[in-house]
């Protein structure tokens, strides 16, 4: 059983705080929470909204249909009224709604409240949004205890502000008495060991836990959240976040850090990632460990800065001239984002190569509750030689030929008798420039051997959900994971045999599970881009042509119903 709440208004109206506080209250009360953001690239005005979906079972996707609309301005009612259920309610920020509801929405309840007046009475206009928190809790039949705790924590630094917010909360609760609609909430109890986290935070946390000591980046929506997460904690962690002068500097700084022996990472969105491309290949030939996160937004060029898409896949895999080892991981949800980032940093060091994490705005800004990550299950892979080993070396070869292509990794200053030389030119074992054909071929092969090893030892097959025998096989990668899960369940409820195969590792492409499951079923690729890029990757790597492609490229994430409807229309009917 789940409920849907939309908070809508314009930029600058405090939607973010409201969303944060409400999500936290619901989370702390014991609900499963799933909140998404839809915002414009502006600081004031425009139209933004946040959806909070919550209930007593795990939620994996956003939903269009709404139980409650909290409209902070008139436009919010105009835009969202159709999505409010017949038995839903609209809460309007004003004395009374001056507009006309559309014909089909006439019967929907609209409850108006001039929160600003109440806030002024309390003595601070800025507590108006908290009045609505009280209203919502009343309608949902929840008590104020958890809310008071959450507000107390949020405003812990200012006792007077905290008091005024709690006043506002109670006033809202009282005022909502006259609203007709009440919702029956399922019984939930607060659970220990749960966290509330979004995709960008999960990546930042994964990086920190992996021991990343240096994050250099240039701000670009929607990737800035990763940088914010780490910067906010850099003093506690004793690590460094540096805002570079541009993305080329960002990636080169990280490579300098990595060469110097510290775990380093950079991140951006497509535009910034484009600028990093030459250095990506440099990391490949110079064999420098590096983790890069690309939080995708719709392109090309500036595209839609605050919206979502999965259209950088083929670009990421093919970025930079020449052949070199590269790994690309498309993260599926906040949990996957945490563990995969941790894994990426370690694999980058193990294989001394660049690893790209592909996330997107949808995942970046979606906040969900999760079982707390288990840190004692994580193993740190130390790629550097030990100080004792380093002492014995008098003629260090950064690119020494070895069985598996991985050369012993040392950092400058680690060996008193030897130096570390890396080069973006083709080079010999010592790192010196060469021109001869033989060494060139040997070095290309050496670098390629690392990928062979990675495929054998570390590549992960996609996750499969569903029955062994299927009539339909849904295929996806990255952040469509959640909506695809719910879509699969909806189809299953209709009596279809449906499986779901979702990839995190997309390059190198794991093919075993896919080849095992693709026969004797109708395969349906679902992607958040215009040209079904993953489908093209699969066909170029394996020759497999999926039967149907469902794509979406309006800059918005999929809901489960959208996928379900598309499959019903385009495939089943």
């Amino acid at each position: 059983m789940d409920f849907n709440l939309v908070i809508a208004g314009e930029a600058g109206q405090g939607l973010n705080t409201l969303n944060f506080v409400l999500s936290k209250i619901l989370f702390k009360s014991g609900f499963h929470v799933y909140s998404t953001k839809d915002y414009e690239s502006r600081v004031r005005g425009g139209h933004n909204f946040m959806k909070i979906r919550f209930g007593d079972t795990k939620i994996t996707a956003p939903k269009d249909e709404q139980d409650i609309l909290l409209a902070l301005n008139k436009a919010a009612v105009e835009i969202h009224q159709d999505f409010v259920k017949e038995d839903g309610i609209m809460i309007y920020n004003g004395e009374s709604y001056e507009g006309e509801l559309r014909e089909e929405n006439q019967d929907k309840e609209i409850f108006s409240l001039e929160a600003a007046l109440i806030a002024d009475d309390i003595g601070n206009g800025r507590v108006a949004n908290t009045v609505f928190v009280g209203v919502l809790l009343k309608l949902l039949g929840l008590d104020l205890k958890v809310a008071e705790e959450v507000l107390g924590e949020y405003f812990r630094r200012a006792e007077d502000i905290k008091g005024m917010n709690i006043d506002a909360l109670r006033k809202g609760y009282e005022k909502a008495e006259v609203a007709k609609r009440r919702f029956e909430m399922p019984e939930v109890t607060p659970r220990d060991n749960q966290i509330l986290i979004n995709g960008n935070q999960a990546i930042g946390m994964g990086a920190a836990v992996a021991g990343v000591q240096f994050y250099s980046a240039y701000p670009m929506t929607p990737a800035t959240g990763v940088m914010n997460y780490l910067a906010k904690r850099q003093n506690d962690l004793g690590i460094v976040v540096e805002q570079a002068e541009d993305e080329i500097a960002a990636i080169m700084m990280a490579l300098g850090g990595s060469y110097s022996g510290i775990r380093s990472m950079t991140g951006s969105s497509g535009g910034g990632f484009s600028l990093m491309v030459e250095a990506l290949g440099f990391a490949g030939i110079a064999e420098i460990p590096l983790t890069i996160v690309n939080v995708q937004r719709p392109g090309p060029a500036t595209g839609l800065p605050t919206r979502t898409e999965q259209a950088d896949l083929l670009f990421a895999i093919n970025a930079s001239q020449g052949d070199f080892p590269l790994m690309v991981i498309g993260v599926k949800d906040a949990e996957d984002a945490f563990y995969q980032t941790y894994r990426a940093v370690n694999l980058a060091e193990k294989y001394q190569m660049p690893v790209i994490i592909l996330s997107d705005q949808f995942l970046a800004d979606t906040e969900i509750n999760l079982e707390a990550f288990e840190l004692d299950t994580l193993q740190r892979y130390n790629g550097f030689i030990s100080d004792e080993q380093a002492e014995g070396i008098s003629d260090y070869k950064r690119y020494e030929f070895t069985e598996d292509g991985i050369s012993p990794l040392a950092y400058p200053g680690q060996m008193t008798e030897s130096v570390v030389l890396i080069d973006s030119d083709e080079h010999d074992e010592h790192g010196h420039i060469i021109e001869d054909a033989e060494t060139r071929v040997a070095m290309v092969d050496k670098r390629h051997d690392k990928i062979e090893k990675l495929i054998l030892e570390d590549l992960e097959e996609p996750e499969y959900i569903g029955p062994e025998e299927t009539d339909y096989l849904l295929i996806g990668w990255g952040s469509t994971y959640g909506p695809l899960q719910e879509a699969r369940e909806l189809l299953e409820e209709d009596g279809y045999n449906v499986g779901l195969l979702t990839f995190s590792d997309v390059w190198p492409l794991p093919i075993e599970e896919l080849e095992d499951r693709i026969d004797n079923t109708v395969s349906i690729m679902v992607e958040n881009n215009a040209t079904a890029q993953f489908s093209r990757l699969i066909s170029s790597e394996t020759g497999i042509m999926v039967n149907h492609e469902i794509v979406k490229y309006d800059g918005r994430p999929y809901t489960a119903e959208e996928i379900y409807d598309a499959i019903k229309e385009e495939v089943i009917d």
């Binding site: 920190a208 690590i239 490579l255 022996g261 420039i433």
Partner: protein
């Protein structure tokens, strides 16, 4: 003093005979030796070009990266390791052209880095196109009508930006160059030396003789700590070219000072286990 031979500055190079990079390398090896540094205590970051090949021709830790991008990775090292002597070395095309944005912002950061720019007023490696410092009157294969932009004045730029150590030297004055290199390496903060380095193959205007006739050493009466004097001196070019420390400011906070959370710690020596980060999880509860 260590023996300069440990730097192996006699390695065979791909530079042209007579190239100004050759004596420059010798000066560098001697300067490092006189400072009692061992090869493992020095790291050189370079871009791409003739000058940028230096880490292959002298034994120090080396990072031969991308054209124009020698400075940013040096910043990464400055965070990892406070003890290493960090030298950035590249051509003037690499530094002032392709990498212009980086020098601009690294002067602002004031990292503890010695930056040696081999200024031959030409693109050497790509065979003689104009660089940012090429004289306006010159014609090249790609600029048959002459250079389309006025020359860049690196000294004036750096002084005006408040770089904390700005010097010029000339490979034809070896003792001078060595002294400048040592002063730059010792300087706490960002130190730029624009080193006049004749390209015998492609720059037929700015030859050894051309420089020899014009350069003069700044005397003891010159006060490099005075900004107004320095900015005036920075404009001198043509018949008389001053070499020496043009501008110097002491006591300006360096890049690492702006990251108090790492203090003097060598991050490179710290390796944390995942379980040490439980607090990050607990704060999300």
């Amino acid at each position: 003093m260590v023996n300069p031979e440990i730097y192996e500055a006699n390695r065979e190079t791909a530079w042209c005979p007579g190239c100004g990079d050759i004596p420059l390398r010798q000066c560098l090896a001697e300067a490092l030796a006189e400072m009692d540094l061992k090869p493992s205590q020095v790291t050189m970051f370079t871009g791409i070009g003739q000058a940028a090949k230096m880490p292959h021709y002298i034994k120090v830790n080396g990072f031969n990266g991308l054209h124009g991008r020698a400075l940013p990775p040096a910043i990464g090292m400055r965070i990892a390791n406070p003890e290493m002597k960090v030298i950035v070395e590249s051509g003037e095309g690499d530094t002032y052209g392709e990498g212009g944005n980086h020098i601009l912002h690294n002067i602002r950061r004031n990292p503890d880095i010695a930056h040696f720019v081999h200024d031959n007023q030409i693109y050497g490696l790509t065979k003689g196109q104009a660089s940012p410092t090429t004289g306006e009157e010159m014609t090249t294969s790609t600029q048959p009508n002459g250079i389309t932009a006025r020359p860049f004045n690196p000294i004036k730029f750096a002084v005006a930006m408040g770089a904390t150590f700005v010097a010029r030297s000339f490979v034809g004055k070896k003792e001078h160059l060595k002294a400048m290199m040592k002063a730059a390496i010792k300087h706490k903060g960002y130190a730029l030396i624009d080193i006049l380095q004749p390209c015998v193959s492609f720059n037929k205007v700015n030859t050894y003789q051309w420089y020899m006739k014009r350069v003069y050493e700044l005397g003891d009466d010159y006060d490099p700590t005075d900004y107004d004097t320095a900015i005036k001196k920075a404009d001198e070019w043509g018949d008389n070219i001053p070499i020496g420390i043009i501008y110097k400011a002491e006591g300006v906070p360096i890049f690492r000072d702006k990251h108090p959370q790492i203090g003097d710690r060598a991050l490179v020596k710290e390796k944390k286990e995942p379980t040490e980060f439980q607090a990050l999880i607990d704060e999300m509860k």
